[in-house]
Symmetry: C2
Subunit: 347 residues, 2 copies
């Protein structure tokens, strides 16, 4: 005797419909219903149609837990959520998460968030992994010395990193990243095209490989165009007032007419200094930032900025993840995507 909770109209039954309910109603076996859902070509067309009809009538949807238990998968992708830092313009996460959720959804996956624990950087991963709660991870902070990627590799846990493994003799994992150097190359060339010759760089401290990568783009473009770089570069903390100070010093000592910055945060610092000195951004001095943050977008003088193709990054990550989980050979160990330049009034 099957459950008979198909009473009053639109309300959800107390116990949701199961595969067995559908089977009985359609006059077939459980396995046939299962096949209708997962391997439709195994069924005769008329049977398939009948089962599908019944599924629609009963509003059946396979129980996730049961499926997960049997197949030893969860259709979940774990992501450690790290929010945008207060007091900065860095806001990659929000857009990236959105893109990842969309891309995952299309591949039949959902995104599971878990918090960052500073004391135990791999704790969250370990829990989810041991309880087989997720199929794979997406790792975002691949800064030098971050143990996550290495640890996951050791555990043989499937994961894709957003970010290159900078200490490349260790962990050789699969990754997707944005070519920072290409971004600053775009920015610098753009300024050169506008007639600038004294273009300054304000970037992060030397121990940041990402920062050095972005710096390299500026440096190579300047050299390629036979332009000077000495005295035109500065490396500081990624906070607004450091950017402001660096800009002040550079203006005094080297008289640049344009700035390329490693982040929108630093670019805001530059703009601050310009504002104090009554210099008009875009007219007197050009400024380019990095990340195309909301700050760049709504600033009264729109800030020209390098934009990461986070939508593409997400799509690429999900594609790679699927290959990984299907145990297909992954074509490339890493994928490098090109950013674009969003030009606004500040340049």
């Amino acid at each position: 005797m099957a459950r008979s909770d198909h009473r009053s109209g639109s309300q959800l039954p107390a116990t949701p419909t199961t595969l067995a309910d559908v089977a009985e109603r359609a006059g077939v076996s459980r396995q046939t219903v299962s096949n209708a859902v997962n391997n439709p070509d195994l069924l005769r067309p008329d049977t398939l149609e009948r089962v599908r009809q019944t599924i629609a009538e009963l509003g059946y949807s396979p129980n996730r837990a049961a499926r997960n238990l049997r197949t030893r998968t969860s259709s979940l992708i774990g992501l450690r959520f790290t929010p945008a830092q207060e007091g900065t313009a860095n806001a990659t996460m929000d857009r990236f998460v959105h893109s990842l959720v969309e891309a995952s959804d299309e591949a039949g996956y959902h995104v599971l968030l878990f918090p960052a624990d500073d004391e135990d950087p791999v704790g969250g991963y370990d829990n989810l992994l041991r309880s087989t709660a997720v199929d794979a991870f997406v790792v975002t902070d691949t800064y030098l010395g971050n143990p996550q990627a290495t640890w996951l590799s050791q555990q043989r846990a499937p994961f894709v990193a957003f970010g290159r493994p900078w200490d490349d003799d260790v962990a050789r994992h699969v990754w997707v990243d944005v070519d920072g150097a290409a971004g600053t190359r775009l920015a610098t060339q753009h300024l050169i095209d506008r007639g600038h010759t004294r273009i300054a760089w304000i970037g992060w401290r030397k121990d940041s490989p990402i920062g050095e990568d972005r710096r390299a783009g500026w440096l190579s473009t300047m050299h390629a165009n036979g332009l000077p770089t000495t005295g035109l570069a500065s490396r500081v903390e990624d906070v607004v007032h450091s950017g402001a100070e660096a800009a002040a010093v550079l203006l005094d000592e080297s008289e640049p007419t344009a700035f390329v910055c490693a982040s929108d945060t630093l670019a805001m610092g530059v703009l601050h200094t310009l504002w104090i000195r009554q210099l008009a951004p875009g007219r007197d001095i050009a400024v380019v930032g990095f990340d195309d943050s909301q700050v760049a977008q709504v600033f009264p003088v729109g800030l020209t900025s390098v934009r990461q193709p986070l939508e593409d990054v997400a799509v690429e990550i999900v594609r790679t993840l699927r290959a990984l989980l299907a145990h297909q050979p992954v074509e490339a160990r890493g994928v490098l995507l090109e950013p674009s330049l969003v030009i606004r009034e500040s340049s």
Copy 2:
């Protein structure tokens, strides 16, 4: 014969440890191990200790899928992720998600994200609900006419809304919200305390209950202080240039010395107009925004802004959710939290 994959050191066994493995090794039954995990007080202290030891040795962690299947729960909270709109300063989601992930984690829950489908606003909910993939939802967009809350209520799906049900004769669901009026009251009083008497309001269109709520805070505070409001209010689209235009008109026609805005986006518009007119924010004209976005934080002239206590909102939501899921009577139908004012140079 139990699995014996406890070979070379730190690598994860091919098949993870199960409850039965632990039971055999500890010389007790499966149920006892289960009790050690879920109902420790049922065991005699010495047995408990022995089982715990074994669990630690084997690195056992209960299989999520199996537990979910049996208990008909998932320890997952569903959240429809809507990213920050480009070209605005609205960035509540990022901080809220972070807070929710943290609060959920402490309660033993994880956050599951799913995408918004414009064509089928309840589709994502329906899928997750019918497949019993999540225990409950957190709903964030409770604007007037949003079908989500009503639909979920009809389905008797457990959920808590971040946001009041504005069309309050329908869906009487459980909610947590921030008192917008109290926020603008803080802002307005702050300006009055600084000696301002002609304080203008720039808000959203009249069909936004949230906007009207915030407007009410400004209005009541002005009245309570016997200050004029006629000709000092404007209702526009929530985009930068609308804010700029509104500010220009108000400055021309009513000569305010301060602006309270319904959002940081509009406040940026005001700042734009001030910049064009060579008026110094904070010195010539005061401006207050709403949301304490990154934009407010890194703007060269720090923007005073109302800050929503999103951490507290998340904690309150999770607390309510737990009560709901435990079928305990929820004390209050709604919880209203007080925002604070972050004072910066613009006021």
